[in-house]
């Protein structure tokens, strides 16, 4: 005896037309296998539906809070490790690149030292010129205002830098992460 489409009708939760339902009932009367399938399926589904929801042990939310703090701390440590490892890796790559360039070119270590000395001298020269510039301006009528503006700007930059360091170190970079 063929079991299709009756088996499919039984196993799929589709609405049957009155004619299909009549046809299915007639088949179930004649086919013990399909009848057994229908009975078993109904009983199993009934069992699923009748089984109540299971709750976790009391104190789940408290355990969540503890777990959240631990996970955040772990995540923070991982971020910090990643940051330092990336920095070290970056420095190693840069130094390796520099070393490779020195090896491949005629640029010797001595040349490099001379170059660095020139750069340092240039920076010192720049600061000397800046100092002269500031001294000249200090003697002008606008000197106090000018000096206050420069100092305030510098202080703001330093404060911003400190705030960013604090934020990354203690609050993390995730949007929903907050300090303890």
């Amino acid at each position: 005896m063929g079991h299709q489409p009756f088996e499919t009708w039984l196993l799929e939760e589709q609405d049957l037309s009155p004619a299909q339902r009549q046809e299915l009932n007639a088949h179930l009367d004649a086919c013990p296998q399909c009848y057994q399938l229908k009975e078993s399926l109904e009983a199993a589904v009934q069992m699923l539906k009748a089984t109540p929801f299971i709750s976790p042990r009391p104190g789940f939310t408290e355990r969540w809070k503890i777990s959240q703090a631990e996970r955040r701390s772990h995540q923070h440590r991982r971020q910090t490790r990643l940051f330092f490892l990336s920095s070290i890796a970056g420095a190693v790559v840069c130094l390796s690149g520099l070393y490779a360039i020195l090896r491949m070119s005629n640029f010797s270590i001595a040349d490099l030292l001379v170059f660095l000395a020139r750069v340092a001298t240039g920076i010192i020269g720049f600061f000397n010129q800046a100092q002269v510039f500031l001294l000249v301006n200090l003697s002008s009528p606008l000197s106090i205002v000018f000096w206050i503006l420069i100092s305030s700007g510098f202080c703001l930059l330093v404060l911003g830098w400190i705030y960013m360091l604090w934020r990354i170190s203690f609050r993390g970079v995730l949007k929903n992460e907050k300090s303890e």
Binding site: D29, Y35, S40, A44, T51, F53, F60, Q68, L174
Partner: protein, 196 residues
């Protein structure tokens, strides 16, 4: 499934930790129940439920507010449990553990307790034969009364794939139920269900 107040949810989405703790309080049972039905072991279910809430917390900024929050949460739980099950086979069911963890009614009624234990054991045996996705489909369909569309969204499947999995899971369920029952004489004219 209980719904959380929109105001609390909004606060949680804005990063308020206390509000998110309320979310955990409200959804702990549905999430834990799904994990338990999927993994079959209370310790793993607890870990999976905790992991679900952590993943949801981290992904709050990606939550689509057009979607019910509970459905989204259960979707995360189902995906995590499916991954866990792929990593290992379902643990052996332990009757003692059910006695400790799953009895919702603390009334000291030995007959009732034994009945519940038997039912839980039978249920675990039925579900144990299904693969993880088929089990997730069945759990969401019959415990959470999800539609096929909701299941497809939750498990990232097409609706036709959900239908196919439901078909296969129901067949296996019936076969396993039948196999677990003592042999009985099959009668006729017993289709008393309104569906027939």
């Amino acid at each position: 499934m209980r719904q959380i107040e929109q105001q609390v949810l909004q606060r949680a989405l804005a990063g308020d930790e206390e509000a998110y703790a309320l979310v955990v309080e409200v959804y702990q049972t549905p999430v834990y129940n799904l994990c338990y039905r999927m993994l079959g072991e209370s310790g793993e279910a607890e870990d999976a439920a905790q992991e679900t809430f952590w993943r949801a917390y981290q992904a709050l900024n990606r939550y689509d507010r057009q979607r019910p929050f509970g459905t989204w949460l259960l979707s995360i739980a189902a995906h995590f449990c499916i991954d866990q099950q792929r990593k290992r086979r379902l643990h052996t069911f332990e009757l003692d553990e059910v006695a400790e963890e799953t009895l919702p009614d603390p009334t000291p009624n030995p007959e009732k307790v034994i009945g519940q234990l038997e039912q839980e054991r039978a249920l675990h045996q039925l579900l144990a034969g299904l693969n993880s996705q088929d089990r997730a489909v069945l759990v969401l369909r019959y415990w959470y009364e999800f539609s096929e569309e909701e299941i497809s969204q939750s498990l990232s499947l097409t609706v036709s794939a959900v239908k196919s999995r439901l078909h296969r899971a129901r067949l296996l369920l019936a076969q396993r139920y039948q196999a677990a029952q003592p042999q009985t004489v099959v009668g006729r004219n017993h289709y008393g269900s309104p569906a027939f």
